[in-house]
């Protein structure tokens, strides 16, 4: 046995919350193919099968709850599993979104007993609570085919693997519809038949893909696989010479770590917007500080400024013994070429200010206003956090000529003074889909002191003040 294959048939289903899955028949559908791809036991009992069309499934089981299939979710989970497996074995190759190859030949040198290696692999996967099928064989493709078939056996020799494989239908090879059809059309349905035909006879009749596949099947050709690489991140730990209880004294050792981060980033042409600092007390408590920057940053001193702002708010009950700095979300550094005439400095200042405010007040406490092309005044602006990078919408049509007050009240207040109307009405009728139709006639009005108001009247003849003109 050289190759191990792990197949996770129901990753997305496994990820779903238990209560959701167990409440009733439940299926995951592929919207592009319009068919069922994963389903729970209750759905299976009602006759739902894999690849069944959505209409037939619903016709069979009216209570069927469906959600759409998301490959990305599965790919991410697969990465997580590989990350865990990396702790127990090397030579991992991903076969997204549902499979992992492991070349066990190197690891088996380390483990005197391959059973032990297998045990630790199973143990690792079990932590993730996902269902899986597996097999081992002499080549990656054969291990995969065997795992997909669900034999769930580790096969020790090539012969026993071949015995299984020969009975497989050629559709298991995923050759594409045309090749598969062409093979069926000459009576070849099982791998045994395919393997019995001399390669040279097939080569003059079929494309190279089939020939390669046969090579992989026989283990004569080496398959190109995508090796798993754990993601690149920065993580350094610093044991302090002595316990520090005064937080201001921590700055120097932190700077040391930050400088290490800086050189780590520079040497890899990376940068980051987010780091985390973990302070471990002598009692073993852990204090974690997440720091964000509005723009990417690698400068150690700039980071220190931001960290200092965070540390200001921490009161230490116990002295600190260990510091660790982690930078996980790293990205390629894009050099900014500053133009002499551009306002990028001002932009940079703004971003620095936002970063400072965010660090000081918290990421979710810094907001800005964004316009929205909506008729209802209270809906025409929206507060967004500064990290929201959606583009501001542009205004078109008649509405760009509308006159709006400089100061809009958050909540309209009932108008209690005499005013004189100074404009013709602007009628807004909208939002019927959320509640009852909103109808308002807006006017510009003036009070006795010539202050200009933006007021509206409701169909029930009640008047409200909604804003002030400058």
């Amino acid at each position: 046995m050289k190759w191990l294959y792990l197949y996770f048939p129901n990753l997305q289903l496994d990820l779903c919350h238990e209560t959701e899955k167990d409440r009733g028949p439940f299926a995951i559908i592929d919207k592009n193919l319009n068919e069922v791809v994963q389903f729970n036991a209750l759905a299976r009992d009602s006759g739902i099968k894999k690849h069944m069309g959505v209409a037939s499934s619903i016709a069979l089981c009216k209570e069927l709850k469906v959600i759409s299939y998301e490959e990305k979710l599965e790919e991410k989970k697969l990465q997580d599993i590989a990350k865990q497996l990396y702790l127990v074995t090397s030579d991992i190759f991903l076969d997204p979104p549902k499979g992992i190859y492991i070349d066990v030949s190197n690891m088996s040198k380390l483990y005197p007993n391959t059973g032990k290696l297998w045990d630790s692999i199973v143990e690792t996967i079990n932590i993730s609570e996902v269902t899986f099928q597996f097999s081992s064989s002499y080549s990656p493709l054969t291990a995969k085919l065997l795992a997909y078939s669900g034999i769930n056996k580790l096969l020790a020799d090539k012969q026993s693997a071949l015995t299984y494989l020969k009975s497989f239908h050629i559709s298991s090879l995923n050759l594409g519809k045309n090749t598969e059809k062409a093979l069926v059309h000459i009576g070849i349905r099982r791998l045994e038949q395919l393997l019995s035909i001399p390669l040279k006879d097939l080569a003059i009749r079929f494309d190279i893909e089939l020939i390669n596949t046969i090579g992989y099947l026989k283990g004569e050709l080496k398959q190109k696989l995508k090796p798993y690489k754990p993601s690149c991140f920065f993580s350094e730990k610093l044991e302090l010479m002595f316990d520090i209880a005064n937080i201001s004294l921590l700055e120097k050792p932190i700077l040391k770590l930050l400088e290490q981060l800086q050189s780590f980033l520079i040497s890899r042409n990376l940068t980051t917007q987010e780091i985390s600092l973990h302070l471990e007390t002598s009692e073993g408590y852990l204090i974690s500080v997440e720091v964000n920057s509005a723009r990417t940053q690698k400068n150690a001193h700039k980071w220190l400024e931001l960290i200092a702002l965070k540390l200001e708010r921490i009161k230490l009950k116990h002295p600190i013994r260990t510091l660790s700095l982690i930078g996980e979300k790293l990205q390629q550094d894009q050099f900014e070429t500053a133009s002499l005439l551009s306002s990028s400095t001002a932009q940079a200042d703004k971003e620095d200010l936002i970063a400072l405010l965010q660090t000081k007040l918290g990421k979710d406490s810094v907001w800005q206003l964004q316009y929205r092309p909506e008729y209802l005044p209270e809906k025409s602006t929206k507060l967004v956090t500064c990290f929201n990078d959606t583009a501001e919408p542009t205004f078109t049509g008649q509405v760009q000529y509308s006159i709006r007050p400089a100061l809009l009240l958050l909540e309209p207040i009932e108008l209690k003074e005499q005013v004189e109307l100074k404009s013709s009405p602007e009628r807004i009728q909208t939002d019927w889909w959320d509640r009852e139709l909103i109808t308002r006639d807006y006017f510009i009005a003036e009070n006795r002191t010539y202050q200009k108001y933006w007021v509206y009247r409701q169909p029930d003849r009640r008047w409200f003040l909604h804003g002030y003109f400058s």
């Binding site: 559908i29 006759g47 959505v54 209409a55 037939s56 619903i58 016709a59 069979l60 009216k62 469906v66 759409s68 062409a182 059309h185 000459i186 009576g187 070849i188 038949q193 003059i204 009749r205 079929f206 929205r372 092309p373 909506e374 008729y375 919408p393 205004f395 078109t396 049509g397 008649q398 509405v399 760009q400 000529y401 509308s402 006159i403 404009s423 013709s424 009405p425 602007e426 009628r427 807004i428 009728q429 909208t430 019927w432 889909w433 959320d434 509640r435 009852e436 139709l437 109808t439 006639d441």
Partner: protein
């Protein structure tokens, strides 16, 4: 104060206007407007509907014809037609701008603008469009005093800026301003619907629309008092001034037939008489009876009085072309079954055989245009189209439009999307609503399907779906209604491009043409005519006997042929081949032509819904007395034993029993088809029932008649059509009886058509002892053909290449063409013909190489060798080299996959031979079983049908190699065994056998899915068609 609305779009401005034209004119009338213009975007499609509504309800409001346009997205304006000439100009501009674009779009050019010499132009400037001064100079230069600026007061944001812009332009360029509403809705309650339409236009939901939506509901028809507050009096008065100048009315449109058909020295009337005289000699060779002479005179004078000569002559000309070209045709419809049409060779229905009264259909009183549909062979109808286009030119000819409207499903989808409902939920609703469930309307059903009953959104959803239903979505092409005119058609009605290349459609549908009393010629396609013509050719070729439809029908009723019909041996027979028809035949036992006329009309959802079939059968079988409530009714219903069966009879009953006038009867007829959508029929209910009670009829009879009229609405079949169809049913039965192999061959050569698949036709042929030969590379041609075979008395039927999926006709011709040099002896010869690989594969799949290659597998093995492509003179192919042999099962699968049928084996037989089936009764042995006995049948599911008239029942048709089995599945059985019922391809059914006069049904008890036994079989079942 008076007011005329001059800028108003109906829902024929698709996805903009949110009211029907009828609603707009009705509301404008109620508000006391003097006039209203319907100005849809580059269209006059809605105008006739508005006109018809005004006429029908006698509303005192003037209708102005106009249209709205956008030029280069910059100039927004409306054209109004004050005169007939201006109207022609408007139609021309629409036609030209539409002809430049694909279906549904238009593009105006500067030339179009410059060519407008008579229309009034209302320009709608906007601050958002810019360059207004430039546009003002341009437009003023073109139109001078005919140009106006339209001011609308919609209480929008920034409206004062638009107002001052308009007044400024008016002042500086000397253009008068007039008031207009920019109408999109008849009433403000349509705002939500208008938002839904806008959302559909932008493919967004209503809450995403933001400022793309209307900001309020002011674009509706508003009371005059409101308008007075918003506009200057002068601006309002100007609308009246313009409306007064618009004198053109739609009834002025007169249709002029091309005159080239009439010889110069003759009047149309004289010429028609001449043609009838000529035809008389041809049709009545033995001499004509006095009664028929009188009939001709009566019909001719009526035609002359109504001025319909051109119409008859035009159809005569078209059918004469068909006759010259040997294209089979048959006229039908009320006017078609007249003695004049018989003489003109438009129909083959002999006037002595049918008593459909001509006056009943061309009624002076009703001013209803005569109805003649002519069916042509479906494979050759295009030749007729081309003849008409060539003879009259594209400028004079176009096809009538069909307005495609929102139906329940599309309405649910559109509104659901607009209200951001989950798409899966929308799909779920659509798939699970049973439109045929007459007890529960759709809104109750969606609530049962999980739409939260109490929520506001749900209520809005239901109300909006109900509102949008029946809204037009786009114009499509009518199946064959041609409009032909002497002058350019675009002066009568605009035309636009259809989806099909080189086809143009007018902007009106058949109802519009009827309203305006314009005539159309219906050129329809009928597969059975193709099959009959091909049968005649084969009879001539193989038996040397010439046949024609009139010849066979004039030979009179042949008892042998009727015996075959009575046995329901009617697979492939026109109109009486469906399972419903087949189960009725042994009960009705048609013995004559008129029995067939009744049979065709009786087995339709109409009469069944109207509860009329059984009384007729009972009366026919002598189980119920034939009685008539009055003499008048007897005159109408005597030919159907007192039971109303035909549409004409129901109308006539309304006239004689409830004293409807001709005009009212006409309205009744028009409402019949639409009552489900607009509930118009309810208006007639009281009138009909009270009228009948007054004339002494019983309440129960009156109620029954009304119910029948409702039933007829959707499907009611006119006697005049049934009479023509019965001829074709008889002729096809005659051919099947006397020349079965010819009939099957011609039928298969006319595919696609009819009710059965080629596989079922071939099985029926085999049941009739016809020897079927598979497609063969050395014997077959494109079409199926008859072949003499040793050991067979009759001709055998050789399947043609046309049956092979994936093989082109041209390739088949290459194969047959090269065959003249001798027969093919190996596969390599075929390869040397440069036939593409996939087609060679298709031939191999069909086993067409069976006499030059061992089997399909080895043949394909040879074909797939790419090295041979360059090795024409290479080594001889070693046939023995490939060892995998196809099994019977392989062959069966390939047969079904490539030609859709197997000449040797049936899947059920195959399963039986392999001992995979428990004991069952084959279909051919079912007749030996007793009524009500328990039986087990096995078969391939070839159809699941849930007919509208059979509540709670679904029929399954099974096929087991020895014949078909009709299985009745009750709703509860289907529900309980849903999985087996819905998904199986091969089933075993245990149930109770029911026999009634040779009609055998199996009432399903237990259904077992056997599909896994034949997993790969590629058979598609015709589910729920």
């Amino acid at each position: 104060m008076n007011y005329a609305e001059l800028v108003c779009q109906s829902n024929f401005s698709f996805l903009q206007g949110a009211s029907h034209p009828e609603e707009l004119v009705q509301r404008a009338y109620e508000l006391g407007y003097e006039a209203i213009a319907i100005t849809d975007e580059c269209s006059v499609s809605g105008i006739v509907k508005a006109y018809a509504h005004i006429k029908k309800n006698d509303l005192g409001i003037k209708l102005i014809v106009g249209a709205r346009f956008k030029y280069e997205n910059n100039i927004d304006f409306v054209l109004l037609s004050p005169s007939r000439r201006a109207y022609a100009e408007l139609c021309r501009v629409i036609t030209n701008s539409r002809s430049r674009c694909e279906k549904g779009k238009y593009e105006l050019t500067k030339w179009d603008l410059a060519s407008i010499k008579h229309c009034f132009v209302i320009w709608l400037p906007s601050i958002t469009l810019g360059s207004n001064n430039q546009h003002a100079r341009f437009l003023k230069g073109l139109y001078g005093k005919r140009l106006y600026i339209g001011i609308s007061r919609l209480l929008e944001a920034g409206e004062n800026k638009t107002l001052s812009l308009c007044h400024g332009l008016s002042f500086s360029h000397g253009i008068s301003c007039l008031a207009c509403g920019n109408i999109l809705m008849h009433d403000k309650s349509r705002l939500a619907l208008q938002h839904v339409l806008t959302a559909a236009k932008h493919a967004q939901s209503v809450d995403e629309l933001g400022t793309k939506a209307l900001s309020n509901s002011e674009a509706c028809l508003r009371p005059k008092a409101t308008l007075l507050k918003l506009f200057d009096l002068k601006e309002i008065e100007l609308t009246i001034n313009i409306a007064e100048q618009c004198t053109f009315q739609l009834h002025e449109l007169k249709y002029e037939y091309p005159s080239e058909l009439i010889p110069k020295k003759l009047t149309p009337s004289q010429y028609l008489r001449q043609l009838v005289e000529r035809g008389k000699k041809l049709r009545f060779k033995q001499g004509i009876s006095r009664q028929n002479e009188l009939l001709i005179e009566r019909e001719l004078s009526l035609i002359q009085e109504m001025g319909y000569e051109h119409f008859f002559i035009t159809i005569y000309d078209i059918v004469q072309f068909a006759k010259r070209e040997d294209i089979l045709y048959q006229g039908r419809g009320s006017a078609a079954n007249s003695i004049v049409c018989y003489c003109l060779e438009i129909t083959a229905v002999h006037p002595d055989k049918i008593q459909v009264l001509f006056e009943r259909f061309i009624s002076k009183e009703r001013k209803e245009p005569p109805d003649i549909d002519v069916d042509f062979e479906h494979q050759r109808r295009e030749e007729i189209f081309q003849y008409i286009y060539n003879k009259y030119g594209h400028k004079h000819t176009a096809i009538t439009a069909t307005v495609v409207t929102y139906r329940l499903k599309s309405a649910i989808r559109e509104v659901g999307k607009a209200l951001s409902m989950d798409e899966t939920q929308i799909d779920f609703f659509i798939k699970n609503i049973n439109r045929r469930d007459s007890e529960e309307d759709w809104s109750t059903q969606v609530k049962q399907l999980g739409l939260s009953e109490g929520s506001t959104k749900a209520q809005k959803f239901i109300s909006l779906v109900n509102q949008i239903k029946g809204f037009p979505r786009h114009l499509s092409q009518h199946v064959g209604g041609f409009v032909i005119s002497s002058g350019p058609l675009y002066e009568l009605v605009p035309t636009e491009n259809a989806a099909m290349v080189n086809r143009t459609v007018i902007q009106w549908d058949k109802d519009d043409l009827e309203t305006l009393e314009l005539l159309k010629v219906d050129i329809l396609a009928l597969g059975m005519l193709t099959a009959i013509r091909k049968s005649f050719e084969l009879v001539k070729k193989h038996y040397g006997m010439g046949c024609s439809i009139p010849m066979i029908s004039n030979w009179g009723d042949d008892p042998q042929v009727y015996k075959q019909i009575q046995k329901a041996d009617t697979v492939g027979i026109f109109q009486i081949e469906s399972r419903a028809q087949m189960s009725m035949l042994p009960r009705l036992k048609p013995q004559s032509y008129y029995d067939l006329v009744i049979q065709i009309a009786i087995v339709r959802p109409g009469p069944i819904q109207g509860n009329m079939v059984h009384p007729f059968l009972k009366r026919r079988d002598g189980l119920e007395k034939v009685t008539y409530p009055s003499k008048e009714i007897e005159a109408v219903l005597s030919r159907t034993m007192g039971v109303p069966i035909f549409q004409e009879q129901v109308i006539k009953v309304a006239m004689v029993a409830a004293s409807f006038t001709g005009g009212e009867a006409d309205q009744l007829r028009r409402s019949m088809g639409k009552w489900k959508y607009n509930g118009e029929m309810e208006k007639f209910r009281d009138k009909l029932i009270l009228g009948m009670l007054k004339n002494g009829y019983k309440q129960e009879f009156a109620e029954r008649i009304f119910k029948q009229i409702l039933g007829f609405g959707d499907y009611g079949f006119p006697e005049s059509h049934s009479a023509s169809f019965a001829i074709l049913a008889y002729v096809s039965s005659w051919l099947k009886h006397y020349f079965p192999e010819v009939f099957y061959c011609a039928l298969l050569n006319s595919y696609p058509m009819g009710f059965y698949s080629p596989s079922q036709i071939v099985q029926d042929a085999q049941k009739h002892g016809i020897n079927i030969l598979p497609p063969c590379i050395n014997r077959s041609s494109w079409d199926h053909q008859l072949e003499e075979q040793k050991g067979h008395f009759n001709y055998s039927l050789r399947l043609g290449f046309r049956l092979i999926k994936g093989l082109k006709r041209e390739t088949a011709e290459v194969i047959t063409g090269n065959r003249s040099k001798g027969k093919y002896s190996n596969v390599k010869e075929l390869r040397s013909l440069n036939i593409n690989k996939s087609e060679l594969q298709a031939l191999a799949s069909a086993n067409a190489f069976y006499n030059i290659s061992d089997n399909r597998f080895s043949c394909r093995w040879e074909l797939s060798n790419t090295h041979n492509d360059f090795n024409l003179f290479g080594r001889a192919l070693d046939k023995d080299k490939y060892e995998i042999q196809p099994t019977d099962f392989d062959n069966l699968i390939e047969d079904y996959a490539s030609v859709g049928l197997s000449t040797d084996l049936h899947p059920v037989t195959l399963l039986k031979n392999a001992n995979l089936l428990d004991k069952y009764t084959p279909s051919s042995m079912l007749y030996t079983k007793k009524h009500k006995s328990v039986v087990t049948v096995v078969g391939l599911v070839i159809g699941r049908q849930s007919p509208g008239s059979a509540g709670g029942v679904t029929f399954m048709t099974l096929e087991d190699g020895s014949g078909n089995i009709n299985v009745v599945v009750w709703l509860n059985t289907a529900r309980a065994q849903k999985k087996a019922f819905l998904t199986s391809k091969i089933v075993e059914v245990k149930g109770i056998l029911e026999k009634e006069k040779n009609v055998i049904h199996v009432i399903a008890g237990k259904i077992t899915d056997l599909t896994n036994k034949l997993e790969n079989l590629e058979i598609t079942s015709r589910d729920f068609h």
